[in-house]
């Protein structure tokens, strides 16, 4: 690079790069060698994942839902899953490898992660054959259905941002204010809320 150099640090070794460079991109960059079938993925999933995410990715309690939800993105309560929402398969592989199972991250082999990713495709109806084998070679061919629905940030074109005129300061509304809605969780601050005090609109993600 240009600018001043300080000659600090040292060159990373190949082993070190191998150990830490675990990210995977949609184009397949970063995928390790390996493979795994839907059927094998089911075995691993049932043992390591289903306790939180449910046998079919439907989730236990408030743990995240991983499958289903198709066609709900415009509904009152969208269910955003790998099949209904996620744009890229690489994210599944990458995330499971880096962060799951929750509580024991980095414990899965690369083949396990291929198999789990295959099984999550199966639970989400992206593949239907339980003999299907996912590998480094066929990975980048698989597309998730919702990819097309992601758009770039265009907030500055929203009318209230695009309009930079001075806001109204006096007599901006005709009638006296009336209350349309009170806080849903009335007079319940979290410290004295019971288990069943849940908001009308679900938690944060």
């Amino acid at each position: 690079g240009d600018g001043e150099h300080f000659k600090l640090g040292r060159v990373a070794t190949p082993d070190e790069l191998l150990a830490w460079d675990i990210d995977v991109r949609p184009d397949g960059l970063g995928l390790p060698d390996g493979r795994g079938t839907v059927a094998h993925g089911m075995e691993i999933f049932d043992e390591n994942c289903a306790s939180c995410h449910g046998d079919f990715g439907e989730a236990v309690g408030r743990w995240p839902v991983l499958a289903g939800g198709k066609g709900t993105l415009q509904a009152d309560r969208p269910e955003k899953t790998i099949g209904s929402y996620w744009p890229y398969l690489s994210t599944v592989f990458d995330y499971v490898r880096r962060a799951m199972p929750f509580g024991n991250a980095r414990s899965l082999s690369d083949d396990d992660v291929y198999a789990l990713t295959a099984y999550l495709l199966y639970l989400n109806d992206v593949v239907t054959d339980d003999e299907f084998e996912l590998s480094k070679e066929n990975f980048a061919d698989i597309k998730l259905p919702n990819e097309v629905n992601f758009t770039d940030d265009d907030r500055t074109k929203e009318p209230f941002y695009a309009d930079k005129s001075e806001p109204c300061m006096e007599n901006c509304k005709p009638d006296k204010a009336t209350i349309k809605a009170h806080a849903a969780i009335l007079d319940v601050t979290p410290e004295d809320a019971g288990e069943d005090d849940q908001p009308a609109s679900g938690g944060i993600e």
């Binding site: 690079g1 600090l8 060159v11 990210d23 849903a184 979290p190």
Partner: protein, 401 residues
């Protein structure tokens, strides 16, 4: 009648015993200079804490707690009260075993120890950090009673560290490099893709906050600082920086931190935190206890675009606006403290604040936001907040006509 007086109005003729009687602390010595080598707040301030909302998330180790905005003043958030958000709990890292790797599209991949990082030229900068999901509960309507819960996923501290540009330059970014992947060393190995242009602009690799070492829950020993952009990008426990030519489409920029619109489309890479403000006092957790008369209304405003140019306050639900007094120099991408002092006549109020940033953007109403985005976006809710004040001084989070 107000909730309680708390004023000195009620002295007896003979005098207030708090004055006429000698208090213990005026007679008997207190603890010495050896008692608290690292100090803490008074026991009378034990209520001033971060609070979490158990039902918001599945487990406290992948959850959030909230800054008590109604209990603090000025623009610097005390380190012990900065809200926490982590996805695998607080990593407790031995700084001697921590490394930072820079690799990818660079001239030579490098590894730094913490001692190495402290040999680069340093800078100290004050920035706000807001979680993109701050106020996310309020998309569908008023939900929680208290600015700690509605707006408490923001804090503002002074960072000490090295310009990210200096560190990337040391490895030598190749011309093809367009994006940066930042990764944490915690159990979620948190990652985000950041445009290289931002990385080379004002980002920092910070090892200090508010004068001392970063706190564990804020990424000790080292975190990324991404001024004005959503908090999730400020990778904590930073261990790796990779240069690439495309974004990585990580879980936190696809499944999460994308903004679902009413039409089923979703915006991605909505990095910048928009112009926003909230009245912190009075507010539901800080009702008016002193009755009529002089009242200090205060709050905070901020914008990812830079400085706050102006904050207006309304006491009648947006019919009429009064320009508030901004206290302090006004640092870019930092909290701004505003005050509006007035004599309360004891009647019902609908309090609102509206910030305008130096780019000219005006904080929108919640209804304006909903008219374009619907109610399923979760993130980037910077709508104007309304607090309803009763004649008794009680305060509630409401939506109004």
């Amino acid at each position: 009648a107000a909730l309680a007086t708390g004023t000195a109005a009620g002295a007896r003729a003979a005098g207030d015993p708090a004055i006429t009687e000698i208090q213990d602390w005026n007679r008997y010595p207190g603890k010495g200079v050896d008692a608290t080598p690292y100090g803490s707040p008074s026991s009378f301030e034990a209520h001033v804490i971060r609070k979490n909302v158990p039902w918001l998330t599945s487990d406290p180790i992948s959850s959030v707690n909230f800054t008590p905005l109604h209990e603090i003043d000025g623009i610097i958030t005390p380190s012990g009260l900065c809200f926490e958000r982590h996805h695998g709990g607080i990593a407790e890292i031995d700084p001697n075993a921590h490394r930072l790797m820079v690799h990818g599209m660079v001239d030579k991949p490098l590894v730094f120890t913490m001692a190495d990082l402290k040999r680069f030229p340093r800078e100290n900068r004050v920035y706000f950090l807001e979680c993109a999901a701050n106020s996310g509960m309020e998309w569908r309507g008023a939900q929680l009673n208290g600015c700690q819960y509605t707006h408490g996923m923001v804090h503002c501290v002074m960072y000490t560290g090295v310009s990210l540009k200096t560190i990337l330059n040391e490895a030598g970014v190749k011309p093809e490099g367009k994006w940066l992947l930042a990764e944490g060393a915690d159990a979620s190995a948190m990652t985000r893709s950041i445009p290289l242009e931002k990385a080379l602009d004002d980002c920092m690799v910070a090892f200090g906050m508010n004068g001392e070492a970063l706190r564990p829950e804020q990424g000790y020993p080292v975190r990324l600082v991404v001024p004005g952009w959503e908090g999730n990008m400020w990778i904590k426990w930073l261990r790796r920086l990779e240069i690439g030519d495309q974004p990585w489409q990580q879980r936190e920029e696809t499944s999460k931190y994308t903004d679902l619109l009413a039409n089923g489309k979703a915006r991605r890479f909505t990095f910048l935190m928009d112009v926003k403000s909230v009245i912190t006092n009075p507010s539901p957790q800080a009702p008016i206890r002193h009755g009529k008369g002089p009242l200090v209304l205060t709050g905070v405003a901020w914008s990812g675009n830079g400085r706050i140019r102006r904050v207006d306050v309304s006491v009648d639900g947006g019919r009429n606006w009064h320009t508030a007094r901004i206290d302090g120099p006004g640092l870019p991408k930092a909290l701004h403290r505003f005050y509006y002092e007035f004599d309360w006549d004891g009647s019902e109020l609908f309090l609102q604040s509206r910030a305008i940033d130096e780019a000219g953007f005006v904080q929108p109403t919640k209804d304006q936001l909903r008219s374009v985005r619907g109610t399923n976006s979760i993130y980037h809710n910077n709508g104007i907040q309304t607090w309803h004040v009763t004649e008794e001084g009680r305060i509630e989070n409401v939506e109004i006509s």
